[in-house]
């Protein structure tokens, strides 16, 4: 309790420890012992925007729920703001902000009532921390007497972010905030996160969209409850070991079949309107690839050497 009050008086005093430390965090569900989170360890520095990137079922939400004290871990431990997630759960609930993947505000209360309620819960007022939510709230303000249940998806998400921010949390947990949101709102949302980062709020965000990964300071790529890699997005891209080619031909299905069966090809997969492929050592020039494909009966072939994306890295890690 004393620590909590120190926190509110002088937030700098807790700056010596990292915002989040997860140490071999494990969660097992049900009688079938499904391992949702398997010995996950990572550390998030203060003021960092850290992304958990992975497909559905990778264990992202379970990690969020454990860190926000909604779920007890079955193994390992974690500290949020220097507080243990099991022992000091009360303190964590005073300091963190959580925005679940599913809209979880009161649909029968208005925007203003929801925001006011969550401000009061944390013993603060909207006015006190208005500077934090100002950029977002101005867009909602003219609907402030509308019930939350009647808002559009993008507006709901903005309101949820406001409610998670209103008590000036030290760590903000955003579980898939952009899932089901249109591309324009997604872009806006990430810009808001950047501005929040400038306010020295640590943000842990999860997303299944690989293109959002590059917007984070550091990311952890996850699959089946385990972390495949943790680094900055550029370092992850740089660590890609092979030369990657984007290939296009007139008949894409046939091209994919050829790439899949040719001995010279190491890996290949469809990627948008292109096929991405890496080749074995002896093939290291566009010309070699062109001749291989022509030999296989492809027409109108286009081959380009490209920089791998996070998604390419993810696929590489999955196949490793």
């Amino acid at each position: 309790m004393i620590q909590y009050y120190m926190n509110t008086i002088d937030p700098m005093s807790t700056h010596q420890h990292p915002a989040i430390v997860a140490d071999n965090l494990t969660k097992v569900y049900g009688s079938e012992k499904t391992t949702a989170v398997n010995s996950v360890s990572f550390m998030v520095e203060r003021g960092e925007l850290f992304g958990l990137i992975g497909p559905d079922g990778a264990g992202k939400t379970s990690i969020f729920r454990m860190l926000t004290t909604l779920l007890l871990p079955d193994g390992g431990s974690a500290l949020v703001d220097g507080y243990d997630i099991v022992k000091d759960y009360q303190q964590i609930r005073h300091t963190v902000g959580y925005m679940p993947g599913k809209f979880s505000l009161y649909p029968d209360l208005t925007i203003a009532e929801n925001l006011n309620f969550f401000a009061t819960v944390f013993n603060t007022t909207i006015e006190e921390n208005y500077h934090l939510i100002k950029d977002i709230y101005v867009q909602l303000e003219r609907f402030k007497d509308r019930r939350a249940g009647k808002l559009s998806g993008g507006m709901k998400q903005k309101l949820a972010l406001c409610c998670a921010l209103i008590h000036k949390p030290t760590v903000l947990f955003l579980d898939e905030p952009t899932t089901g949101v249109d591309p324009v709102s997604r872009k806006e949302f990430w810009e808001m996160l950047k501005r929040l980062k400038e306010q020295n709020i640590t943000i842990l965000v999860s997303t299944p969209y690989m293109d959002e990964a590059t917007l984070c300071d550091r990311i952890a790529l996850m699959q089946h409850g385990s972390i495949l890699a943790i680094d900055t997005p550029s370092a992850i891209v740089k660590s890609y070991p092979d030369i990657l080619y984007a290939i296009r031909a007139e008949k894409m299905p046939a091209l994919l079949k050829v790439l899949g069966s040719n001995n010279a090809v190491a890996t290949s997969y469809a990627f948008g309107e292109y096929a991405h492929a890496t080749f074995k050592e002896h093939v290291n020039h566009e010309q070699d690839i062109l001749s291989i494909l022509k030999h296989a009966g492809m027409d109108n072939i286009e081959v380009r050497r490209i920089e791998p994306t996070i998604e390419d890295c993810f696929i590489k890690l999955l196949r490793a």
């Binding site: 926000t68 004290t69 909604l70 779920l71 007890l72 759960y89 009360q90 609930r93 005073h94 963190v96 959580y98 679940p100 599913k102 809209f103 979880s104 505000l105 009161y106 649909p107 029968d108 209360l109 009532e113 309620f117 969550f118 009061t120 819960v121 944390f122 013993n123 409610c163």
Partner: protein, 372 residues
């Protein structure tokens, strides 16, 4: 305290915004108290009677007249043969067949004895039982009347007759409504207290709002109190409306102390609120909560002494009723409203309900975990 204050503010705002709940709270007691006591009636009336009179004498005529003028029977058939009358039973046009043999009058006077046949359709057990009993009583009275007529003609004062006079206490007119209204009031209070709390808490689970609340400094007991207090108040409001309705419509004014009545209901509400809370901890969806509460309500009502007296239930069922909080409220309602029982009379009930309240709420709080 501050936390509870704004939780209550939020809760009442939501309740008053939910039109259907509000309507139910106001309309339910009025409708149920208006319709149920009038419709649910134990008295058996309109028993269809078919008479097969082989005698056609003035005595048989007099007897039929006495039966039909009792008000319980309606003569739907006057047949020549038993077969004909029985066909009326088969087609559901008669419930009882009374066959009067030929020579009824003659034998009754000459041999001092005569036999009648009563055949009853027993599909509806209550109607059959009461119907034949009424009929037997009327015939017995008739028999006594003619006996007295005879005797007075000859030697009198020799026939010993026992006349039983009974007086009905607490419900002098044997009015069934007076018995039903307090019982229905008890069920109403239970519905509001139990159903609404369970559904309300599970609704927060379903919407995910409980998760959002859990990641805040709101403590477990604050949240629970914030849920219980509004429905405790609503329960008392419904009870008040119910009392007003039973006074305005049925003229039932509690004979006993009103404060005692409210005191008991207040503690009783804590018990059913605890039950609602407990059910909500086991359910994840409103549908589940609804079904579980419905299961309990059926048992509570049928084994609560609302329609059938607990004393006439089999031993094992009586044991179950002891674990049914509704049975205590129904009993106390009738005791205080109709009989004017005092605090000392309802003290045992009060003690048991208090135990229910403590037990159910502790169990619910143990079961309601913020982190799992």
């Amino acid at each position: 305290m501050r936390a509870i204050k704004f939780l209550l503010q939020k809760e009442f705002r939501q309740i008053f915004r939910n039109r259907s709940i509000l309507a139910m709270i106001l309309v339910m007691p009025v409708m149920q108290l208006l319709i149920l006591p009038l419709a649910a009636n134990y008295e058996v009336k309109n028993i269809y009677l078919a008479v097969v009179d082989h005698d056609h004498s003035s005595y048989s005529q007099k007897m039929i007249e006495k039966i039909t003028s009792s008000g319980y029977f309606r003569l739907t058939g006057y047949n020549n043969s038993y077969q004909e009358a029985f066909r009326l039973i088969e087609s559901d046009d008669a419930d009882v067949v009374l066959e009067i043999p030929s020579g009824f009058e003659r034998n009754l006077i000459r041999e001092d004895e005569q036999k009648l046949l009563i055949a009853v359709n027993a599909i509806n057990g209550v109607k059959a039982n009461l119907g034949s009993a009424y009929l037997a009583t009327i015939i017995r009275n008739y028999n006594q009347d003619i006996r007295i007529d005879f005797m007075q003609a000859g030697r009198f004062n020799d026939i010993p007759t026992i006349k039983v006079t009974s007086s009905n206490w607490f419900n002098p007119n044997l009015n069934y409504r007076v018995y039903m209204v307090p019982g229905i009031l008890a069920v109403l209070v239970t519905m509001i207290g139990g159903f609404l709390t369970a559904l309300n808490i599970v609704k927060e689970k379903e919407a995910g709002t409980i998760e959002q609340i859990n990641v805040t400094p709101i403590r477990k007991h604050h949240f629970i109190l914030g849920k219980l207090i509004p429905f405790w108040i609503l329960g008392n409001i419904v009870f008040t409306i119910g009392l007003l309705v039973s006074w305005l419509i049925y003229g039932i004014v509690p004979v006993g102390n009103l404060a005692l009545l409210y005191g008991f209901v207040s503690i009783y509400l804590l018990a059913v609120l605890g039950l609602g809370l407990l059910v909500s901890t086991f359910c994840d969806t409103q549908q589940q909560a609804m079904f579980i509460m419905f299961f309990f309500m059926m048992i509570f009502i049928l084994l609560g002494g609302l329609f059938t007296a607990i004393d006439s239930m089999p031993e094992w069922a009586q044991v179950i009723t002891r674990f049914n909080p509704v049975s205590y409220l129904i009993a106390v309602m009738r005791m205080v409203i109709l009989k004017g029982s005092t605090f000392r009379d309802v003290l045992p009930h009060l003690g048991i309900i208090a135990l229910f309240a403590i037990g159910l709420n502790s169990w619910a709080i143990l079961n309601y975990k913020k982190a799992n």
